[in-house]
């Protein structure tokens, strides 16, 4: 497994993070959440961030989306530095947080309404996405009528409907049971291979991180720092058999050692 913490930044224009730090003020003094984080992500790349809980993964994602200010350092998305919430971002959270009073279709249309995009063509895109996610026959139902996995798929559709260039996912499958979670990994890769969005996904499952990604950013806890960036040399499309590939387990073990877990 080759590592590439330092690699030419020229072709990595979708997201550029340069010596980013984040310090929170708390009652017990200052807490350093992120320290000197640097990496770059290329267009249409699928990158995952893996690390212990409390390593500032979510904070990092929020800063990239423009939801949180950084303490120092620079974040650029498509060459422009981020200073306010970005509408060019689709965001998926750990919980689906669908609006329970809207049908699935109306939920997916929420970004269109809020961004005041043309309704008619967007409705077609919403339907396409729902079809792609296998939800088209459930589009007139309310979220409470759907399973957790289906709700999260609807949330992914909602994140993509306004055709953002960036998809940010904060432990999107963390609340799902293991079987649904594996299923969702395939679903996500299928949607991603169709839409080819630059994707940054945070997880604390190493095997999920490796299975999904082109590259894995490994982070240390408190303060969050980039321990390593691991290139995943596995063929796409990824299949259930991919997990049997020795390169897969080698990669998982290498990352595990980095994070400090013991692997035999």
């Amino acid at each position: 497994m080759q590592t590439s913490a330092t690699r030419a930044q020229g072709d990595r224009g979708a997201i550029e993070v340069t010596s980013l730090s984040k310090v929170y003020a708390s009652q017990h003094g200052q807490i350093k959440a992120l320290s000197d984080v640097s990496f770059a992500i290329a267009d249409a790349e699928f990158v995952t961030i893996v690390g212990h809980s409390g390593c500032g993964k979510s904070t990092l994602l929020k800063i990239i989306a423009g939801l949180l200010p950084s303490s120092s350092g620079l974040v650029k998305v498509r060459g422009r530095s981020v200073t306010a919430p970005l509408s060019d971002v689709g965001m998926v959270f750990q919980r689906p947080v669908l609006l329970k009073w809207r049908t699935i279709f109306a939920n997916v249309m929420l970004p269109i309404e809020m961004l005041r995009l043309p309704r008619k063509e967007s409705a077609e895109r919403a339907l396409d996405l729902l079809k792609l996610a296998g939800l088209s026959e459930f589009r007139h139902q309310y979220p409470a009528q759907l399973s957790g996995g289906m709700q999260q798929r609807a949330a992914i559709c909602r994140a993509l409907v306004h055709d953002p260039s960036l998809l940010l996912m904060d432990e999107p499958f963390g609340a799902l049971d293991l079987m649904t979670r594996e299923e969702m990994n395939f679903e996500l890769l299928r949607i991603w291979s169709e839409r080819r969005k630059t994707t940054l996904l945070v997880t604390h499952s190493i095997s999920e991180a490796v299975f999904l990604a082109d590259r894995v950013i490994v982070m240390t806890p408190r303060p969050g720092m980039v321990a390593d960036i691991v290139e995943v040399n596995l063929p796409r499309p990824r299949m259930p058999e991919t997990k049997l590939d020795p390169r897969f387990s080698a990669c998982v073990q290498a990352i595990g050692r980095k994070i400090g877990l013991l692997y035999i």
Binding site: A65, F93, R95, L99, A144
Partner: protein, 255 residues
């Protein structure tokens, strides 16, 4: 909340049983009518003078509905103001709580002085008694939003109005309706207190007259009329809730 036929028939049966027992006991123990009239006497009183009760019921119903609607409007507006303006929250919330702590019965005579012996004072009292739970619940509903949703709104450049109309307001609806149910029953109390304290119309007024004349069956008909009115208003709120929140059926099924 699904009602099947067994549920309904159980309820009807138990009410009937209570009435029969009541009738039998008053006869067996020879209870004087001015202490506790049998249900049959109450029924006869109600039927023979139905126009009297209809008229006064209408007055009371008008007072409580007007008070209730005003309470809903005032309550929702206050909640919005409290949520969106820090200054107004600091100015208003403590005063609202103090106002709630003062017993409304004690305010009633004052209101009569200010608003007269007519309907207005009763409407105001019904408003005063029932608006507090609406404010409190509505504030909770407007604030209890998942943080991720607010992040989403910011990413989608929603602005305050869209965030309010598309997220906060619908999110507050279940809270609002549960407070409206409470308020609908409180508004009956407000209207009747007003009629007790002073006035010449309404079921509360009838009860006062009945008591001074020891016409207990008249008291009972008024009481039953009052509960029917309260039940009617409560039913309207339930109906509105069903119509406004069709998704809630699934929500409770999932929970």
């Amino acid at each position: 909340m699904g009602l099947n036929k067994t549920d309904i028939s159980t309820t009807i049966l138990s009410i009937t049983a209570t009435l029969v027992l009541w009738e039998v006991l008053t006869v067996v123990f020879n209870v004087p009518g001015f202490i506790l009239p049998p249900p049959s006497a109450i029924f006869i009183e109600g039927v023979t003078r139905y126009h009297l009760y209809l008229y006064h019921s209408w007055i009371t119903f008008y007072e409580m509905v007007a008070g209730f609607v005003l309470a809903a409007v005032v309550g929702v507006l206050l909640a919005v103001v409290i949520v969106y303006s820090r200054i107004l929250r600091n100015m208003l919330y403590p005063q609202i709580v103090v106002l709630q702590i003062v017993p409304k019965v004690a305010i009633a005579p004052l209101l009569l002085i200010w608003a007269g012996y007519g309907i207005t004072s009763k409407v105001l009292l019904a408003l005063l008694v029932s608006f507090f739970p609406i404010v409190v619940n509505m504030v909770t509903g407007l604030v209890a939003i998942e943080e991720e949703l607010l992040d989403l709104c910011r990413i989608l450049q929603s602005g305050r109005w869209q965030e309010f109309s598309k997220v906060r307001l619908p999110n507050a609806l279940p809270y609002l309706f549960s407070s409206l149910k409470v308020a609908s029953t409180l508004s009956v109390i407000g209207a009747v207190i007003g009629e007790f304290v002073g006035g010449s119309e309404g079921l509360g007024h009838l009860i006062i007259i009945a008591n001074t004349e020891l016409r207990t069956s008249m008291s009972f008909v008024s009481l039953f009329s009052l509960s029917i009115l309260g039940f009617l208003l409560y039913g309207f709120v339930l109906l509105a809730e069903r119509l406004c929140m069709p998704w809630e059926r699934w929500q409770s099924a999932a929970a």
